[in-house]
Symmetry: C2
């Protein structure tokens, strides 16, 4: 089992590896707790919760639609019905939707109780479950209402990754490539050389990939818990990615796939902007993504999902992204593996050319 | 104008006095902002906002029913429609409901933007607007979903207090008596000697009362921002008070009136529990409350509102209060003006006798 310490104001541990969930009962001790999950995860993997599977458990519908204000209220009502108090713990057992929803409900319930994050998807283990960001969507956009609420501990059990479908695995790999680009050039090499083994869900390799991603993200988050500066790095590919998700209709294109294509767009824009230190980066990135079954560019993404993704609509969506100010989206651009520039404001023509 | 500094992790100032709202434009500078108010306050006092009255403004229905999840979502949608971004400011202009709702919306919007609290009731100026607690109600209880989100500044303009009706003034005075009991024995003397002038809304006296309350609350809050210990003092009278509000039906008996009666109940329970240092306290408290037009006990409160407030129902409601754990309500008891004991667990018979 790999253990990564996240050195936030109140430090916590991320436990990565097969069977990590077995640590749950000892971890919770006598604390009263309630489990939030989704129907599919609860069916497939509920037994991994051991005695907790018999306790209060709410399984929401799988999918982005559950990240709504209405469902959040339902979760809070459930925590009251489960008779939780200020010393209780919410266990969020599922993918990113469950982690966001459970984390937000825990941070609001009685003005904040502990949450243990038990991510079951590659995306959530590598990214969403670490760092304390929680959110639900509003009519006006994704993740617009939320909090920063660090978990008490994260149990990233790699066993449930075996049941991910190909699209979920791909989506997770999109964030893995982003993380490699942000802070782990060796991980980028690994992704390039071992794509086959990864797509074959080699257990050891998955555990290594998750651990490396948690280390990178943990270091960034510890340096900047509330996204005042350094943490902006983690938005690499996300301004483009969110615009793609928004124009396609949230939930149509998986988050990590949209981010993956966003990475290439960011690299191309970096080239046009003259900030690239590694001139081969855009093409190498395209090769890595293609090797992992991800769309290496907008044309491929359009074709794969049969969605036009009009350049003007993407531009308009970027202006509404919550990064930067309303007037001018600020981008994170890669210049080489492990090297970025942040808060880069770009001419509209440069963006338009990349999106064409 | 009186200025009280609240020494929380990020310190802020409370400005108290007639015309304090005139400082709003200079304070906000060029920041984009949106005003949350209620219909009545906006009609009566909107012009006091100066240029802000013409900007984005949402006026919710007055009353506790607006402290709901549904209205919270509406406020967040309004902040998006008002085109706010991460550097924007929410101005909460109204009583406790508006302050709680606006503070919570600000703390959630894009995971947290600034709020300026502009309380317009005595209750909100003396208590709710200082300290950063925000909340909405859930079906299962009052204030069960919320955050800690300190304001950027609080403008407690005493001019709008002139239009408070008698019930609102009384409700505020209930929290004033509590605050005096928690930490300002001289304020208790003042309330005893100057009840007439206070009920006549003497402007200088109101400003002094608000300033004294803000000083007491500010000191407690600065020592314990997230209610881990010292801040529990401020719950004096509230476990009884919340039970009274719940059994009567929230919104039926004004909060401060319920708390006032809760103070007497707490003092009587303190006497029965043998912790009183000042043996005259319960009777003196009854005198002070009666002088301010507040019900000095459960019988008077029952008679005034024509509600039975059954002892068994009150006991059951106390068990569900979020103070302490679900199993056993922990009380704050006064032992003398300015002296308290906290986390006092009591025999059911003692509680029952006080509630009979």
């Amino acid at each position: 089992m790999n253990r990564v310490s996240i050195d936030t104001a109140t430090p916590y541990e991320v436990v990565v590896g097969p069977g990590a969930l077995a640590e749950l009962p000892a971890l919770l001790g006598a604390a009263r707790c309630a489990v939030l999950s989704d129907r599919r995860v609860a069916e497939l993997h509920g037994e991994r919760l051991g005695p907790l599977a018999a306790g209060p458990l709410l399984a929401v519908e799988p999918g982005e639609a559950s990240k709504s204000f209405a469902v959040l209220e339902r979760v809070l009502d459930f925590l009251i019905a489960a008779d939780l108090d200020r010393s209780s713990v919410v266990v969020a057992f599922g993918g990113g939707v469950v982690g966001d929803l459970g984390g937000l409900a825990a941070s609001l319930f009685m003005r904040g109780i502990d949450v243990v994050q038990c991510p079951t998807t590659l995306l959530a283990q590598c990214d969403a479950a670490v760092g304390g960001k929680t959110a639900v969507n509003l009519a006006g956009g994704k993740n617009l209402a939320g909090t920063f609420h660090q978990p008490r501990v994260v149990l990233a059990d790699t066993d449930p990754l075996a049941t991910l479908d190909a699209a979920e695995l791909r989506s997770g790999l999109g964030e893995v490539v982003k993380t490699a680009l942000v802070g782990d050039p060796e991980l980028l090499d690994l992704l390039e050389q071992e794509a086959e083994r990864l797509l074959g869900r080699d257990a050891d390799l998955l555990a290594e990939v998750v651990t490396r991603c948690v280390r990178v993200k943990g270091a960034v988050v510890a340096a900047d818990e509330r996204e005042g500066g350094e943490r902006k790095q983690l938005n690499l590919g996300h301004t483009f990615g969110h615009a793609i998700e928004r124009v396609a209709g949230f939930g149509t294109i998986p988050h990590g796939e949209a981010v993956a294509t966003g990475l290439v767009l960011a690299a191309r824009v970096a080239a046009a902007d003259g900030v690239l230190a590694d001139r081969d980066l855009p093409e190498r990135l395209e090769r890595v993504l293609a090797g992992l079954g991800l769309a290496p560019g907008l044309p491929e993404l359009r074709a794969r999902h049969g969605i036009p993704l009009d350049a003007d609509e993407l531009l308009a969506a970027m202006r509404h992204d919550k990064k930067g100010t309303a007037a001018r989206p600020l981008l994170v651009l890669p210049t080489a593996p492990g090297r970025l520039v942040v808060d880069r404001g770009l001419a509209e023509a440069t963006l338009r050319a990349a999106l064409a």
